[in-house]
């Protein structure tokens, strides 16, 4: 048995064990159904809710908000990272702020955002960006730092202009680090948006969970929670697999 296969089995057992245990606990009456419902019911509820179509609007709302927040974080974050990297003085100023950024609970600004931007999509997108963009800036800086100076010299000797140098040398060199930033940004924008909906929004998946919770609809709550969880795992899995392909090419071919 290969090491990878053994790991996969152990990982599956570690993951499946607690789920089976919970299933058993719920079915045998050890767990109060008012607190947690059996995992099989969660799945059934998820399928029902998606199948019935009553989540469609929320899904469109939430996923488009996340996509917007993620896209803007990546675009603005990469660009700002590049600018900060270019200007040494700006970097000296910004570095400590970036390093301590994630100790600030950005959520507390949500009421302010709502007051400023209203109750629509805008405050949620901004909240998503606030969570995700600094990760992109940080990874852009470290990615640009990791470009070997010798390759930049090579670009000059081979008389590549700035655009080709960026496209052929800088981007591929920085890509592995940029990618870690993008992965984080996806998770952070998802967390930011759903949590925002949860707290103060009147629509979206986060709101749907919160609404089910407040109306004591455990079944619906767990079903939607599971759906959000699975979506997050799949989205991250796709980026992870893509990153893995890039990495494998560099290390083994």
């Amino acid at each position: 048995m290969t090491r990878a296969l053994a790991l996969l089995i152990v990982r599956s057992v570690v993951l499946a064990g607690p789920i089976l245990l919970l299933e058993f606990g719920c079915r045998a009456g050890y767990v109060d159904p008012n607190s947690i419902i059996p995992p099989s019911d969660m799945i059934a509820s998820m399928v029902e809710h998606i199948g019935s179509g009553d989540l469609n609007e929320s899904m469109v709302q939430t996923f488009s908000t996340i996509a917007l927040a993620f896209g803007l974080s990546v675009a603005i974050g990469t660009l700002s990272g590049a600018v900060i990297h270019r200007i040494a003085r700006l970097r000296d100023m910004v570095d400590p702020l970036l390093a301590s950024y994630y100790s600030v609970p950005t959520f507390i600004f949500y009421p302010v955002l709502v007051a400023l931007l209203g109750l629509g999509k805008a405050p949620l997108v901004v909240l998503g960006i606030l969570s995700a963009m600094p990760a992109v800036i940080i990874s852009t800086l470290s990615g640009l730092d990791s470009v070997p100076p010798v390759l930049l010299k090579l670009a000059r000797i081979q008389r590549l202009g700035p655009a080709l140098t960026l496209w052929w040398i800088i981007l591929p060199s920085a890509l592995p680090r940029l990618f870690s930033g993008f992965k984080l940004a996806l998770s952070y924008s998802l967390i930011g948006v759903i949590a925002g909906e949860f707290i103060l929004s009147g629509s979206g998946l986060g709101f749907a969970i919160s609404f089910a919770y407040q109306s004591f609809d455990n079944r619906a709550m767990y079903g939607i929670m599971l759906f959000v969880l699975l979506t997050a795992v799949v989205a991250n899995g796709v980026l992870y697999a893509w990153e893995g392909r890039l990495r494998r090419r560099r290390s083994k071919g």
Binding site: P148, V150, K153, I157, Q158, W168, S173, R250, G253
Partner: protein, 268 residues
């Protein structure tokens, strides 16, 4: 010989080249330097560490501009611009890990506008010349340090440069690999007819490979000695067993010893 060599102008000519770096602290790195390379000549430069060898190379390929003095290549001034026809091999591994050996070697020809059949032919020739034919689809991470350096040499070779500058290209390799790479470099030199300037800290390497070895002083680097080796053009690493080889390296070392001590803050 019917061809008169006297009418040929120098391939590379440095006149009164000085390079200072603005501080703080301001550094007078190199010069004044006068150096002339004849077309097809193989010249090595040795010097104590920090004497400005790499700065000299940067000015030779046009990446850096001299503070004063002029650098001429094939009769025209380099005004801090890299002219076509110059290839550089660096000390550090400069292969691109995201490209295969073939793509790495192809890299320099991407902007050449050559037809793809010719690019393919040139790349395959350069790759097999450097003994990498069976690794053409490998990625740098799968190769040893010596092989990666050969990829970088092939990438320079494919451009058919008329002047090849090498900045301690074998510095990171073990002794046997270095000797063999030296042989390959000599073969390449004979085959391409290029002018070669090799910067090295290894006296034996300089003595074995070159027509002429320039010895640089401690900073600010100037040439304090030029030694003609007198080797035939079809030499290889076996010249190390020639009786003259010991005398050559001894002469180089006696020129260099005092300067090396200076950089270590000691005088003899």
């Amino acid at each position: 010989m019917t061809v008169s060599m006297s009418v040929t102008e120098p391939h590379v000519e440095l006149k009164g080249v000085v390079r200072r770096f603005d501080g703080p602290p301001a550094v007078h790195a190199v010069g004044p330097i006068d150096l002339t390379l004849a077309r097809g000549e193989f010249v090595s430069v040795v010097g104590p560490s920090g004497c400005g060898k790499s700065t000299l190379l940067d000015m030779l390929c046009g990446v850096a501009r001299p503070t004063s003095g002029s650098v001429r290549f094939e009769g025209s001034d380099l005004n801090g611009e890299v002219p076509p026809g110059i290839g550089v091999v660096f000390q550090e591994d400069s292969s691109m890990p995201w490209l295969s050996v073939r793509q790495n070697v192809e890299f320099g020809l991407r902007t050449s506008g050559l037809p793809s059949a010719e690019i393919k032919e040139r790349v395959e020739h350069a790759v097999s010349f450097m003994g990498l034919a069976q690794f053409i689809d490998h990625f740098p991470a799968q190769l040893s340090g010596g092989m990666r350096q050969r990829v970088c040499i092939a990438r320079t070779l494919v451009l058919r440069p008329r002047l090849i500058l090498l900045d301690e290209p074998f510095g990171a390799l073990d002794q046997q690999t270095r000797l063999l790479m030296g042989d390959e470099l000599l073969r390449l030199w004979r085959e391409t007819g290029a002018t070669i300037l090799l910067i090295t800290h290894a006296l034996d390497e300089a003595a074995m490979l070159s027509d002429r070895v320039g010895v640089m002083s401690a900073r600010p680097g100037r040439f304090i000695d030029f030694v003609e080796t007198g080797w035939p053009r079809d030499r290889d690493s076996r010249v190390v067993s020639d009786p003259n080889f010991g005398a050559l390296t001894a002469r180089l070392w006696s020129s260099l010893r005092e300067e090396s001590l200076k950089t270590m803050g000691r005088a003899s």
